[in-house]
């Protein structure tokens, strides 16, 4: 009983950590890539090595990767305590909503009705698929 409660608590703490770090990482990575520009076009013009170096020296990219690393280890931690059918969908669906909010606030993306609907539909769908 107590072990079950600890397992659930650890799983939800891991989910919270995944949602927060993954949203921060997504926003930072998106910002980095918008600064750099279309990778496909740039690679054909300047070469693969140039593009790789350009990405690796972008500070938003490095911060984003650090957040993603935290998210990854939180996910591994969570998976060791509970099933992927709880951790995966719960973290993913909450991340969709958190990302839509973060993208509007920090990236000033135009999150119109269509995009809100998409985020909420996907989040709800992910939850239903786990039931």
């Amino acid at each position: 009983m107590i072990r079950h409660a600890i397992s659930n608590l650890n799983a939800w703490l891991a989910i919270l950590a995944v949602v927060l770090s993954s949203s921060a990482g997504d926003v930072l990575l998106s910002r980095a890539m918008k600064q750099i520009g279309d990778l496909g076009q740039m690679r054909s013009r300047r070469g693969f090595l140039f593009v790789t170096l350009l990405i690796l020296r972008n500070r938003y990219f490095l911060l984003g990767v650090a957040c993603m690393a935290v998210s990854f280890y939180s996910l591994l931690f969570g998976l060791s305590w509970n099933d992927v059918s709880l951790i995966g969908p719960a973290a993913a669906s909450l991340t969709f909503v958190a990302n839509a909010i973060a993208a509007k606030i920090f990236l000033h993306e135009r999150v119109d009705g269509r995009r809100w609907a998409a985020a909420l539909f996907v989040a709800a769908g992910v939850v239903l698929m786990a039931v």
Partner: protein
């Protein structure tokens, strides 16, 4: 949107669920990791399935970065969520698992979400200037 861009979104869609499934399979073999024994998370990576999962997730990361270079975050995330639908079809037709009615409803909702977002523009256009005013980091790289 052209074929190359759809292929990149396809990469994001396919690599993530396959990588996550491999990680899950590997972590079940590794066993529970407590907060007191947190360093064993690093040793978990020596498990073959976890390592293979990481390779797939690197593939996902490369396609994801490419997609983010020409599309909004709020476009890429829902558009690439078809991976969940793909997982359900793999479960039904390859692994012969029972897929419940609520799960099919979930698949319908995810597909509707993908449909909503992909009919709109992929990037927020800001004609006057590309970067936030006063953002020195932004101008350094342009």
């Amino acid at each position: 949107m052209n074929l190359r861009k759809y292929l990149v979104l396809g990469g994001v869609t396919v690599f993530a669920p396959v990588g996550d499934s491999l990680l899950s399979y590997g972590m079940k073999q590794v066993g529970n990791i407590s907060l007191h024994n947190i360093h064993s998370l690093f040793f978990a990576m020596t498990n073959m399935w976890v390592a293979l999962g990481i390779v797939f997730l690197l593939g996902f990361f490369a396609s994801y970065m490419t997609a983010l270079s020409w599309a909004d975050l709020t476009y890429v995330l829902p558009a690439s969520s078809l991976g969940y639908v793909l997982l359900a079809f793999i479960a039904k037709f390859l692994l012969h698992e029972q897929v419940s009615l609520t799960r099919w409803l979930g698949i319908a909702l995810v597909s509707a979400g993908v449909g909503f977002v992909t009919t709109g523009p992929e990037l927020t256009r800001r004609p006057p200037r590309r970067h936030v005013p006063g953002d020195r980091a932004a101008t350094e790289h342009s």
